[in-house]
Amino acid sequence: MPDISRPFLSVENLTVNFPTPDGIVHATESLSYTLERGKTLGIVGESGSGKSVSSSAILGLHRYSNAIVSGQIWLDGTDLLQISDNDMRLKRGKEVAMIFQDPLSALHPYYRVGDQIAEAYRAHNTVTKKAARARTIEMLARVGIPQPDRRVDDYPHQFSGGMRQRVMIAMALINDPTLLIADEPTTALDVTVQAQILDLLQDLQREFNTALIMITHDLGVIAEVADDVLVMYAGRAVEYGSARALLTKPSMPYTWGLIQSVPDVTGPVDRPLRPIPGSPPSLVQPPAGCAFFGRCAFSSLVPGDRCAHELPELLPIEAGHLKRCHLEDVSVMYAESVEADRVDTATVEAGAH
């Protein structure tokens, strides 16, 4: 029975652990977020931050691995973690669909793309082969593949990268899913094709009123498509809020670092890149305090050793904007950046003379 008060998608305290010989990998720790139909949630974070793992949990793909999943995933009034394997299978591809990062490896090399798409349709609809093929061609046309009635019989390797990703999108959307998860759909594509694919996804989202989860590490993508943004670090949400708030007023040094590390095409050409130094902590033995401690430039501003010993809670700083950070006054981050800009500009000018 659909619960009126609950959002369309509500992930609550989702935890995914992988037992390995080296210990338990805490891939995702008590993650919570919500999403309504027609809206887009961007999940950002670097490799291994738990973006894909948490999203695969929505499709129930961890049922085929040794992962231990706990928490709740409410989709349209049903907790997806409580239903049987077969019920989950029937939802997979029909209500929840996923687009993967590398379309070349995500498509089976030995089967025609048309057959692979039709297979997704026939898994959830009792139709003739002919009807499934007609629907496939219609879908290929819808995602902008020229001559779909001919291309339907081609193999994945005969398509360009962008066209292959369109095939994946056609496959994911053929059953009009209510929730679409796009796992770095543009990472393997070049920039101009990226923009086309993003436009296509947004058009289709509007057309079908789909809820969209866009997993990416590209803040440009986030700025373009997301309504809400969830920043993940070492398996946890570290900042969560509307895209506007998060991109204009980032409140967690990690988010700030991500934004700062994007090269500015309007700035001086010689401006050095500003990467976040260091690398993420081990997920097998997570640190006791803040996972970002050690890479964070501002932890010294927090009184005592709180960053090292005390895991910050995900707390609201204003309505609908949460952060997991002990740092209270974020203006120091912005000030430091202005200073860095001044130094860089001075260095560039000095170099020019």
Partner: protein, 341 residues
């Protein structure tokens, strides 16, 4: 596609010619084959005569030319022209015509090599095809099951058994089956080869069961392990995740998407293993005393019957080259990425 096939066949012919040359030089450089033909009580005069009659006194290049000519248009024995013409008048039955592709003449067997091979080939061909079907069917089936039940009892038992079987030499398996299954327990009649012409399909089928099983077990053990590995590897591929994300049944994911990718490398292995079997069933044929090509090779080796050995090496080499070409062409059908237009 046809151009590709023709190109592969032409390359195959060139390879075959090169192989014939190397084999010919290797064998004839070993010494004068006439010495063995001449026999125990060989006088220098007789040896000289035999050497001349069979053409072994001519330079290797000349002999190779004659051999190649025999392969292409056929030839007559004895080799020496004058001697043969004289023989044709006095005793025409002793002049042997060897039609193309002539692989030589075995003085020891008093048969052309072609006749020898045709005589022994049916057993080996039957044995190879029979065991090939056995090992491919059961090997792949058990391999897939082991992969699907990875880590569970079925998988562990299967992997354990295949390891033991794989480690057992063929002569042990063959002798064991013969001693126990056929002789002691009398589960099957004592195996002796029955051709289809003599015993019908059923007689042929049952007469070959034990030796074919002997041959197949070794390969089956290997194929179980290889299939298991290929399927397991294939199950980690991204397209398996895609198949699951589409909501397909587990059975479809495993057998349609998982096994399909594993079949391609299996195909190329199976082709080569089959070709190797045509010349390599020596031990099984010896254990069961089946008159096949392997036994012919052993006998020829014992008798220093060089022409037969050369012929066998060429036939075996040709089988491997042919199997390679067939696998290449099949590959293009099986894997659309190598399909040539």
């Amino acid at each position: 596609m046809i151009a590709f096939a023709i190109r592969r066949i032409l390359v195959g012919i060139v390879m075959l010619l090169a192989m014939v040359l190397v084999v010919f030089i290797l064998f004839f450089a070993a010494g004068n084959p006439a010495r063995d033909v001449c026999g125990k009580f060989c006088t220098p005069e007789k040896l000289k005569q035999v050497t001349q009659v069979y053409g072994y006194d001519q330079p290797i290049s000349e002999q190779f030319g004659l051999f190649m000519k025999g392969l292409v248009v056929g030839r007559d024995y004895p080799v020496d022209d004058k001697y043969r013409e004289a023989l044709a008048k006095s005793n025409p039955d002793l002049v042997i015509h060897c039609p193309a592709p002539c692989l030589g003449y075995s003085q020891h067997d008093a048969l052309t090599v072609n006749q020898d091979i045709v005589k022994y080939a049916p057993v080996t061909l039957s044995l190879s095809i029979y065991s090939f079907v056995l090992w491919i069917f059961f090997g792949v089936l058990i391999g897939v099951l082991a992969a699907v039940f990875k880590g569970r009892a079925l998988d562990r038992i299967t992997v354990g058994i295949t390891l033991v079987v794989y480690a057992l030499p063929t002569f042990f398996i063959g002798t064991f089956l013969l001693q126990f299954v056929a002789i002691k327990w009398r589960l099957v009649p004592y195996p002796s080869y029955v051709s289809i012409a003599d015993g019908g399909v059923i007689g042929w089928f049952s007469s070959l069961f034990l030796p074919a099983l002997t041959l197949a077990l070794f390969y089956m053990a290997a194929y179980v392990r290889i299939t298991r590995a290929f399927v397991l590897e294939s199950l980690t591929e991204d397209y398996i995740r895609t198949a699951r994300a589409k909501g397909l049944r587990t059975r479809v994911v495993l057998f349609k998407h998982g096994l399909r990718a594993a079949l391609t490398p299996l195909l190329s292995m199976a082709g080569l293993d089959f070709a190797a079997l045509l010349a390599g069933a020596v031990i099984t044929e010896s254990v069961f005393n089946y008159q096949g090509l392997g036994l012919l090779a052993v006998t020829a080796n014992k008798n220093s019957d060089l022409p037969v050995l050369i012929g066998l090496v060429i036939v075996a080499g040709a089988a491997v080259i042919l199997a390679n070409i067939i696998v290449d062409i099949l590959y293009a059908y099986v894997d659309p990425r190598v399909r040539l237009r």
